[in-house]
Symmetry: C2
Subunit: 328 residues, 2 copies
């Protein structure tokens, strides 16, 4: 057995703890450090022997960590954290503000190239495996239309965005696909479906004492990229109600492409996920892409990448021969 | 617009005509030659201006064709045709005898590397996009099990294998998934399902006059890799019945992976296809991989490859920037 891939995690929230679990399922990897903005002494990591390092001291891990998995939020954490860490480490992140991906890619690419590191951005399931399926299906069936549906499930990115609003103590957001739109997408009639027609959003919000609830609701509904293009319902609930009724983080969804070939032959390609735990699944995707980042960096293939740039074989611990024999 | 990718096709059967249709849907490509074992004068290619060349003269196309798409059968055509053409051209094929992929890969790799060409073998949907989904899903959820189901649909490879039996005039083979096995795979209980439990095979065979039907049936049932591990039903029908009832080539199937993360969270990843025309869909996959083979050969990345080695972005006519903006 060659040496294990040494994984570091920035953050220790739901996705980070999912990364910890996923690393334990991959015998060619080991978790060796957690970087935190909290007091390191207050962070109890379940895996024995893992170093906990203050965010300000992250640079001390350079050379000791093969791939750093950045488990920060896309709204404010990653735009800073991404380029910063790409200068010091190979990195993986799940940056998911679709509209801002081009600028984020450019910033990480610059830092990673200068630092001679490999950084794979926007990894997870959407962006991530859903994006891959959009790309594969569109390349195979250029004369067609694709549809992405999410839910019913909790979106971490959207819940996080609500939690950043002043006066909000806690929040959970459900993304809900509209049943009639799903049926239309499956029919092969290739309907044009607007963002608003495809999904609704439902928010359960715990406000701080004395907070202006009407103002919070308005801020949510008008938030660009996240909520402004959807029919959004906001419910204010108590902390207890939120814990009792909304503490699970299931999710799922599907990518459908409907396309034509020849003289009117019709084909449907469908990819779907049904997930008990969105953060644990996302973490599992991050971890297999960490293997790819490590391998690319070993080959000197540096700079920012996305899932589109990663040859699938790089994700697996199996050799090329084994993959051809067992999975092709 | 840069110059178009010049595509050649070896063969002019169902898949080859599907390739012709697919090339017409991709504005960055053009069909420029068909290579045939028949009398070239007898082959009427629908696309105007396409050169028809006898198999013996294929080498005269070297330099004029960017990628040759080999539309031969896996049983006897490709083992010879693959290495032969890889020495002269970048190639794509749909070699689908899973058990013999390692030796076929080695033979094509040797020829392609020596000829400084790029050859992507075993492209299509299985092997092909199904293989990719097995690899992605296993890499993401290492603690799990995957299941591939096919049908109900016509398998070209299996029909072809029957047609090569002496005394067989024509044949169509349907692969049929066993409903109870599909339900078990979806349940998350991760059952072990044998090859025989998952599918049955049903064959409609037109025998030549005076052929020994009992012998044909025995040959089918006992054919290794193709039929010996399945419950197979063989029906002898007339040519007219075959034409009337079995002339469509629908297919489909799905790849499911069921896996666990953390403390018992369960996830299901499912990829499915519903195809009006198996050969046209297969051809569409071949054509987008031809784009990848061309690009790799331009970069000097020669030798044999499989879908596992191809970064997804190479399949699309869109630029990396456009892909990140539109599909990530």
């Amino acid at each position: 057995m060659t040496e294990k891939i040494k994984i570091g995690i920035v953050g220790y929230g739901n996705v980070a703890r999912g990364v910890e679990c996923a690393v334990a399922q991959n015998p060619d990897m080991e978790l060796c450090a957690v970087v935190t903005r909290r007091d390191p002494a207050s962070v109890k990591v379940r895996t024995p022997g893992v170093k906990v390092v203050a965010a300000a001291d992250a640079a001390t891990l350079a050379g000791a960590v093969d791939v750093m998995i950045l488990c920060g939020g896309s709204a404010t954490d990653l735009p800073e954290m991404g380029p910063q860490h790409a200068a010091l480490f190979n990195t993986i992140d799940s940056f998911d503000t679709h509209a801002r991906i081009p600028e984020y890619f450019a910033a990480v690419d610059k830092a990673a190239a200068a630092g001679r590191h490999t950084s794979i951005i926007s990894v997870g399931w959407d962006p991530g495996t859903f994006s891959l399926n959009r790309l594969f299906a569109e390349s195979i069936l250029p004369d067609g239309a694709h549809y992405t549906f999410w839910g019913r499930g909790v979106s971490q990115g959207h819940s996080d965005a609500i939690r950043r609003i002043p006066g909000v103590k806690n929040a959970i957001q459900y993304t809900i696909p509209v049943e009639s739109a799903m049926q239309a997408a499956r029919s092969g009639s290739q309907p044009e479906l607007s963002t608003r027609e495809k999904h609704t959003r439902e928010c359960f919000v715990v406000a701080e004492d004395g907070a202006d609830q009407a103002q919070i609701e308005r801020t949510i509904r008008e938030m660009p990229n996240y909520f402004s293009d959807y029919d959004t319902t906001v419910h204010f609930v108590s902390e207890d109600e939120l814990k009792r009724d909304h503490s699970k983080m299931p999710h799922g969804g599907f990518v459908i492409r409907s396309g034509r070939t020849g003289e009117g032959n019709h084909h449907v390609i469908e990819y779907s996920l049904s997930l008990d735990s969105n953060p644990e699944f996302t973490a599992s995707v991050l971890v297999c892409y960490a293997r790819a980042a490590y391998r690319l960096s070993q080959k000197g293939d540096h700079g920012a990448k996305t899932v589109f740039d990663i040859a699938p074989a790089l994700l697996s611990p199996k050799s090329a021969e084994q993959l051809r024999r067992e999975l092709l």
